[in-house]
């Protein structure tokens, strides 16, 4: 039986000026080696949950345990074992692709030799080898998104958190990213994949959790979740059944 990499225990988080909590009494477990799709409509609390898992936000109540460490008290201990590709592009636009990655690698404390080899490997994987010396501000949206993902992989993390990794990218880039994630899955790396693109989740996720209005509606393996709603033909139908069809702004 695989170990639990991420354990969320009755998490609650309410923003200061908000009437309802962004995350309300959320509990779930993410097993090692799984690709966990954290799904939900706009404003469901996905990003808030991701930030608490990353350690960027402190929950109002509850616990976040990642790789056995409490993220509030011992977050720094596991920082080097988590790789995060946030929804916004978190790069230095004035530096080249290589300079960005090298800088981040140094911040992770990696030796120069390792950084260079990782950069070379991932740039090749994502088709950016010939762009290593180009300034990031000249990149297309898809290229930036891929580079954003590479920055999360340099230090060979045990847990990778991806927040909308294919948002706004071209079809080819999207395909490349999804192929990469499928490979990760086969290598046993644990991935949290936050998105509202259900067909992607259905393609690559082994486990899913659907949240809405801060609450967990369902979670488990893709097969188990689908099996609990046999009337739904696919993940999209199940999602709409659980969250409703009202538009969320």
């Amino acid at each position: 039986m695989s170990s639990i990499v991420v354990h969320l225990d009755h998490l609650t988080k309410q923003y200061n000026k908000s009437v309802i909590p962004a995350v309300s009494d959320l509990s779930l477990e993410i097993p090692e080696g799984s690709v966990f799709g954290l799904l939900g409509p706009n404003g469901a609390g996905k990003s808030t949950t991701v930030m608490m898992v990353c350690g960027l936000m402190v929950p109002d109540s509850g616990f976040v345990t990642v790789l056995g460490e409490n993220m509030v008290t011992n977050g720094l201990e596991v920082r080097n074992k988590i790789g995060v590709a946030p929804q916004e592009i978190a790069l230095f636009p004035g530096l080249t692709a290589f300079e960005n990655l090298f800088y981040f690698g140094r911040m992770y404390g990696l030796p120069t030799r390792v950084i260079k080899s990782q950069i070379e490997k991932h740039l090749a994987t994502f088709g950016l080898s010939d762009k290593a010396g180009k300034i990031v501000s000249t990149f297309s949206g898809g290229m930036k998104r891929r580079l954003n993902l590479i920055a999360a992989l340099l230090h060979k993390p045990r847990l990778i958190i991806l927040d909308e990794p294919t948002a706004g990218v071209d079809v080819q880039s999207r395909s490349m990213v999804l192929s990469f994630l499928e490979n990760l899955k086969s290598e046993g790396t644990t991935v949290i994949y936050s998105s509202h693109l259900l067909e992607e989740a259905e393609r690559i996720c082994s486990h899913v959790g659907i949240i809405d209005e801060g609450r967990l509606l369902t979670a488990g393996t893709l097969a188990a979740v689908a099996g609990s709603h046999p009337d739904c033909k696919n993940l999209e139908e199940l999602f709409l059944k659980l969250t409703g069809k009202n538009i969320r702004d």
Binding site: G55, L76, R79, P86, A90, L91
Partner: protein
């Protein structure tokens, strides 16, 4: 690079040049002064002799009062001294009357008081409306001093005249009043370099250096906010997990830049200013304390810049507020003009300006050969300011940063 280093160098050089004249007091400035001598006698001769020996006044002789007035009004000359006709004669008569009456009062001489009303001697000084008040006072003071000196001499002569009256065997003696007393001027303190005083370079180099150091907020805040807006700061947070390394890293870098600015501008004061005809910056012999003071100023400047960077949400807000606040702090801190010439309320406000603390410390070290004990209070204030602003910036950054 130009913004951080070259512009401050240009600033300190220009300000030192611009303020060189205002910093020189009347003893170094040559004034062109007209003398209209309608007296042509002893009094005017004494005035001409006194100004002739002065290196600060260039006396030009005219005969027409109207012409003198017009040329002063136009600004061609700074002042005109008009000695009226028969001024010497009237002064002599007044002196004679005084002595006669003193003797008569004591039953000496003729024994009768002379109550004749003699007209006042009006020496007129016309000033250029643009002339500084202290120059006016100085010129008027010189004239009064000369007239008093002449009168004193004539009093002594009249005394001798009265005493000699009837005593033909005694001869009058010439009394030299110049050896009665003299004023010795020197600077306080034993180890002061001769001739060192607060001149344009001595004031402007440390003052504008600090101004430039506090303007580090421009690249600091601009860069910080840009990284926040672009998202690269998010990456740094994700890696480090804490606000402190991000803030500390930036603090260290900009602190070092500030120190380099300081060293460069001091070098300009020592090596470049003399080439421009200005005084050489005198540093004294407290190199270690100077560096310590510069470090404290750099910390204060960087801390303030960090606070501006994290508090304001946009670069426009940060840079507008930051630049104006630095100008205000510099004005009340004595950067523009020395604190002691400011109105009382500003002198009080200057107590709260970190630039005032820094400038006072530099003056103590450069001019007064102060020890650590003397400058320590200001250094503590500067370090405290850095600690407060730096801590506040970490706290605010943490509180404001959700992602």
């Amino acid at each position: 690079m130009a913004l951080i280093f070259l512009m401050p160098l240009a600033l300190v050089i220009v300000m030192a040049l611009v303020q060189d004249a205002p910093f020189r007091d009347y003893q170094e400035i040559q004034l062109d002064v007209v003398l209209v001598d309608q007296d042509a006698d002893s009094l005017s001769a004494n005035i001409k002799k006194a100004f002739g020996a002065s290196r600060n006044v260039n006396l030009v002789l005219l005969t027409d009062t109207v012409e003198a007035m017009e040329r002063v009004r136009s600004g061609e000359f700074k002042a005109a001294i008009i000695i009226p006709k028969d001024a010497s004669g009237r002064l002599r008569k007044k002196t004679q009357q005084m002595i006669t009456n003193v003797f008569s009062n004591f039953g000496l001489g003729s024994g009768e008081l002379d109550t004749t009303k003699l007209p006042t001697i009006n020496v007129t000084i016309l000033f250029d409306p643009a002339i500084k008040a202290n120059y006016q006072q100085t010129l008027a003071g010189i004239i009064e001093k000369i007239m008093a000196s002449v009168q004193t001499k004539w009093v002594l002569e009249e005394l001798q005249n009265e005493l000699q009256d009837g005593n033909t065997s005694a001869e009058k003696i010439d009394i030299d009043l110049s050896q009665v007393f003299q004023i010795n001027r020197r600077y306080a303190g034993e180890a002061i370099n001769d001739g060192v005083m607060l001149n344009s370079v001595q004031h402007n180099v440390p003052a504008w250096t600090m101004f430039a150091m506090f303007f580090i907020l421009y690249p600091l805040a601009g860069n910080f906010i840009k990284e926040r807006e672009e998202g690269s700061m998010l990456r740094l947070r994700l890696i480090s997990g804490s606000q402190f390394p991000v803030i500390a890293g930036k603090f260290s870098f900009y602190f070092t830049v500030c120190l380099f600015q300081f060293l460069m501008m001091i070098a300009v004061g020592v090596f470049v200013m003399p080439l421009l005809g200005l005084n050489r910056l005198v540093l004294g012999d407290q190199a270690g304390l100077i560096l310590l003071t510069a470090s404290c100023v750099a910390m204060a400047a960087t801390g303030y810049g960090m606070l501006i960077a994290v508090y304001f949400r946009t670069a426009q807000q940060a840079l507008s507020f930051g630049s104006i606040s630095v100008v205000i702090l510099s004005a009340i801190g004595g950067v523009w003009v020395p604190v002691y010439v400011m109105p009382g309320i500003l002198q009080t406000l200057s107590l709260f300006s970190p630039m005032s603390w820094g400038l006072e410390s530099f003056n103590d070290l450069f001019l007064r050969q102060a020890s650590l004990v003397t400058v320590m209070p200001n250094l503590v204030r500067l370090a405290g300011f850095a600690l407060i602003t730096g801590s506040a910036s970490v706290f605010i950054h943490k509180a404001r940063t959700v992602v």
